[in-house]
Symmetry: D2
Amino acid sequence: MERKITYITRELMEKMTALRREFHRYPETAWTEYRTTWRAAQELKKAGFQVFLGEEVCRPDSRMGLPTGKYLKFCEARALSEGVPSGVMERMQGGKTGAVGILKGEKPGPVRALRFDMDALPVQEAETERNQGYRSLHPGIMHACGHDGHTAAGLGLAHLLGQRRQELTGEVRLLFQPAEEGCRGARALGDQGWLEGADFFLGGHIGIGAERLGEIVACTHGFLATSKLDLQFRGRASHAAKAPEKGRNALLAAAVCTVNAYAISRNGQGDGRINIGRFTGGRGRNIIADEAYLEAETRGDTGGINRFMRDSLERVARASAAMYGVTCRILEQGEAGTAKSSPELIRICRKAAESVGLGGLYRETGSFQASEDAATLMERVQNAGGQAAYFMFGSPLAAEHHQPGFDFEEEVMGIMAEFYSAAVLGNFCTFGA
Amino acid sequence: MERKITYITRELMEKMTALRREFHRYPETAWTEYRTTWRAAQELKKAGFQVFLGEEVCRPDSRMGLPTGKYLKFCEARALSEGVPSGVMERMQGGKTGAVGILKGEKPGPVRALRFDMDALPVQEAETERNQGYRSLHPGIMHACGHDGHTAAGLGLAHLLGQRRQELTGEVRLLFQPAEEGCRGARALGDQGWLEGADFFLGGHIGIGAERLGEIVACTHGFLATSKLDLQFRGRASHAAKAPEKGRNALLAAAVCTVNAYAISRNGQGDGRINIGRFTGGRGRNIIADEAYLEAETRGDTGGINRFMRDSLERVARASAAMYGVTCRILEQGEAGTAKSSPELIRICRKAAESVGLGGLYRETGSFQASEDAATLMERVQNAGGQAAYFMFGSPLAAEHHQPGFDFEEEVMGIMAEFYSAAVLGNFCTFGA
Amino acid sequence: MERKITYITRELMEKMTALRREFHRYPETAWTEYRTTWRAAQELKKAGFQVFLGEEVCRPDSRMGLPTGKYLKFCEARALSEGVPSGVMERMQGGKTGAVGILKGEKPGPVRALRFDMDALPVQEAETERNQGYRSLHPGIMHACGHDGHTAAGLGLAHLLGQRRQELTGEVRLLFQPAEEGCRGARALGDQGWLEGADFFLGGHIGIGAERLGEIVACTHGFLATSKLDLQFRGRASHAAKAPEKGRNALLAAAVCTVNAYAISRNGQGDGRINIGRFTGGRGRNIIADEAYLEAETRGDTGGINRFMRDSLERVARASAAMYGVTCRILEQGEAGTAKSSPELIRICRKAAESVGLGGLYRETGSFQASEDAATLMERVQNAGGQAAYFMFGSPLAAEHHQPGFDFEEEVMGIMAEFYSAAVLGNFCTFGA
Amino acid sequence: MERKITYITRELMEKMTALRREFHRYPETAWTEYRTTWRAAQELKKAGFQVFLGEEVCRPDSRMGLPTGKYLKFCEARALSEGVPSGVMERMQGGKTGAVGILKGEKPGPVRALRFDMDALPVQEAETERNQGYRSLHPGIMHACGHDGHTAAGLGLAHLLGQRRQELTGEVRLLFQPAEEGCRGARALGDQGWLEGADFFLGGHIGIGAERLGEIVACTHGFLATSKLDLQFRGRASHAAKAPEKGRNALLAAAVCTVNAYAISRNGQGDGRINIGRFTGGRGRNIIADEAYLEAETRGDTGGINRFMRDSLERVARASAAMYGVTCRILEQGEAGTAKSSPELIRICRKAAESVGLGGLYRETGSFQASEDAATLMERVQNAGGQAAYFMFGSPLAAEHHQPGFDFEEEVMGIMAEFYSAAVLGNFCTFGA
């Protein structure tokens, strides 16, 4: 890719690379991004941003799919041992991760919110020649989806904007979101008000829907709307030989729920999805099981179709429980909508891309073919009259997303930062003006 | 079987045989025993009994499992063409079958109720050498359970009691019950009050639990309590390709109900049974089915276990309907309890048997291993302080009950009438005295 | 619709109308189109065509979803009573319906096959003001999908081509196909060789995807590929109380099959459909059912997806049978592919439409959103190197297709005949030449 | 209970009590009875028995339901730290637990085998006033079924027989069996030949079917025959949104298996049982699950009924797997038959009981109402022409079997040892002579 460098210096590229590798070595799963949050906050502060941390970032009640208290404690201890100061930890304790940085220009202008996700996955990283020096130090956890790169690119952007603050108009909000995986964090971030008054919103992902370095593809077909639900069945134990009739078989109810969840009707309006991804139940071979748990998810081409799937699943779950005289609690563990990028913003961003020599591989339509927590934020901005867009940044991959050998070309972080900064700083950015 | 004849004359035996063969030629299924009722009433009258017919016999609202109005009309027309006077038919129209005959002695004494069932089965009779001359004239209908013999024996008994009226004390009620198959008629007979004040009750069956002519076995292990239920699922039709999501799939709900009915828990207190014996649903291959029907039955060693099975089935049915957004109506089509013969009455009846030379093959314990509508009547008498017993009368069979080749030795009717008359007329019969 | 008449005269329009109404009065369902076939053959002969009938038209072994022999006999007797000569009937007996007419021009030219479907539906026609004079004379049967119009238009075309034979080049084959409903007849027609050497194929439907008279819309999105399967489960009967363990429960196996058929996986490549539209099983409430029948269908956006659905259904059916020790026979009752109209032929047909003043409402893309037996024929022609197209002819409808009140504007038959004749006779029709 | 002491001295009673409390403090679950085995072997040696240990006791290949290698290692390390010499441990490593002691009399006589089970349960013991001083030292493990008492009584018997060796005729084999819970050990013990040539076999249990100290009840109604099976379903993972059709859903197959396992037919010959007591499956919410595990058990009044249940379960499991294209491995984890005590031996044992003043509460019929691994050994002896009996020894209980507060009256061990020694040493014991 030949192009003149506009904003990103070699020095900044090296900083992003170092940050990305640091995040990669210390991966943290959803709601335990203590070390990552602390480091992001440090860099934002260095770059001159006003920084927010802890309870201020994600509304505690709105967080979905929190891990157990025991696991949170384990991660907090680990983060302390890996450098997080105890004063900072105090503010984050109990899964209050995520950071926000705000920078205001001297002249009036639009409010722009950009979102970067920070969480890793429960995947054991493969040992490759490539990742020597930055392979994950946390057993069973890995940045296998590139969020380390997203965070590093966001911090690179912060430094760049800090350096060129005199060019900035209006306000920029950099949102470092926890718990994107499972679509668990965006709602809590939005509920804390960080999108209020936002004129535009940008988000993006490395290596999906585009393979060549330099490709920037607007996601226009939207995401699959999704709901993540945990189903808890509670019954009554009994000896399976002496008095099976006295039991209330929670495991059997959950099995009936599973089979019938997949039997939910197809939909003439578009595609839906259903999955029961985990099932655990029962205490022992000779006991009528008094409890069972399912991890389920629904999806849909549209919010309406996902709602149809979810309503159907809830009906199936409650009826399965009633069928065997057990109870069923339904716990929401995540959700996302199916926002489409705003057409006008896509055209504006083309100009931004062209202004920094990135217009050649810019495409105005593309499909993500999965769910993204960003959709929740995009819908919030669009419903309030703003514009929102989501971009896929091309990169060759060492292995597919979520695979143990996943890795990307680090130069893509430069492209992200360059493109975002052009969108923020360029004079075509007088959105809506 | 050698024994001295006490009550039954050759002439009476011939009358019973002729009656049985007449009933066999004109078999009528549950609630359509128009011709059988008319003939029974005629004979009862001839024998000097006070006769009841039509609405007086079975309480209309309490009848279960009535056939369709169309089928009733068809059978009424057939019965008229086979001799039933229109005046008699008027009283029975709409499935008001069954007859009761009452005879009172001149001296005070106990009230004794004896029950004889009259209905045939939807079975196509085989053509055998034996049944030449009395093979069923009604296509697809047959006396394949011996109720023709029961009715004839009951009428033989009526004639005998009529002849020996001077020996009779107290009161005798001969109950000719419709709709025993499926346990549909006894409740309605009982609800009309025919067991009020009954000191004892006797009933019996040909050829179950005993194979030798002359065997008389008291049923002490009781019957399987049972419930017969029809389940009607109603949903909403929709085109299966264009808009499956708009349908409410009654057929699928019924299938889920079926599978889970069989999955009802075993019971540590005794045996239960469940069956879905018929399933019909749907209008066409490419339509989401808007209706489905199941014919179900439950059974249990005890009334409690049958209640457990039935309650579980109803819960499964309602939950299956709720699961797919359809409705489910549950219609009671039959039921019977699990009465055990009263021990004192069994001992009294032994004496009656011995008095007429039938003591040799009399057994005081036996098991019926099926359900019998008589149980409902027995429980009613026993609960009111009376005694009740049920007997199995041995006979070789040409084929199993309910099979197309079924037939029994007609002499067994003589044994039944002899035994019953001894129980009614003998001086050991001062029951409760 | 104002346009100059090119081919269709008032006289011809009246003939088509009379024919359509005659077919409407004598509707015949799949494989019983005896009278319709006879009349079509008569008209083809009058028009100068070489006519084929009986076994020559549809290969007997390839016919799917034949009715019972008893129903065929009933329909044959009815057709005889409605005028079909016994000699003609002899050739068609046993469901050998369908007619083909062939006309050759004097000069060489392409072979063109046009297909018209003839069967009616098991729907009871409503009594409306409009259909006075031509309402169905066959109880429970009705031309509720417009095939009467298709057949009449095809015969109108035959007369027109016969009149203008001197303009004809090459060869025209008019295929009057039985059993389009349920996708049962096209395979047998194709297997008899009527498409061999065909350079192009045309087919069409009244009133789908277009509402205005004069609209002619090419079906380019293809049809839903589909398979129609009957599933026969056979087990062993047993008394449900005395020996349930000796039964092999065919009804239960079919219920398990039903539930799991709907649970077949969604498909990331496109939409699939599954339906169990009818379920009948069992002999009586207290008998373990020894037989059960399901009527099923699968569909898919592509042949591959339908194959996935069908293979999955067959696997589910066989496993359900194995689960309960019963057998399962799978009978193919219909199938159709998902052919797309050939782009070049669509453009050629536009010219034909324009040449007769029908270009104004001609559209080159459209979607049928259902299955069509024609797809089987189209694929056969296309796979052999020919071109095929399917058109939807707009008409206002009195009620939806397959509804009791269905009716269309008869003028649409004129448009069909005019358009087809332009495509056959026009000089732009030197397809592939 | 007043009775003259015949064999058991106060000293021996104290020894048994001390041993029982030691076993209670160091409970070990199935196939990890390292410390218990070692101590039993020590005592047997002290008593003068020839002792067998390690591979000689249970045939390694015949052991069922072995724990994981990791857990075995953990228990081996624990046992070493609790006193087991490393030389002894070497012989037992890998779950080769169990001990056999043999003592021969000087005069010829019958071969008698007595079986004592040694394993504890995965139950966390409650803290009570009573168990102070001997409460379990192993977290989550407890002798909650009294096998500590069985083992101690068996060792008490060994000491007594050692002391009275001059009275002994023939041969005594004391079998200290591992892994009775789950019916996992008896087969392996039998396969090693310890019952070859046995003229009689005795076994028993504390506190089942009898509550008063001194009650000795012969188990004549037999046990429930049982099979313990693990079902492993393996499929193929796939992304639940992008390519569900590429997955092979092991979790769904296991759910179908679960529902249909409960739907296995009732049995007219007697009671059966089925239970799926544990279900674990899947890796994550958005992944089609590639594996699932079920822990199942079947039972039956007779071996034939259990075989019916087990065969049906295996058929259901294999069909469920086939239905979704996954594989199913069925692993046998335990089994037991339904032996009935030999009537002659029961009468002989009555005399033995009477000879030591224990005749008063001896009962010749009783029902165990559960499964027992001893049945496997009893059937082996009986099938080879020997006699076998099983006794229930009454004791008040602090809580039900398998409950955290379970405890029994230790004096019952004296009664067991006294009764067994009378059966072995008394002159009425010339069984079969």
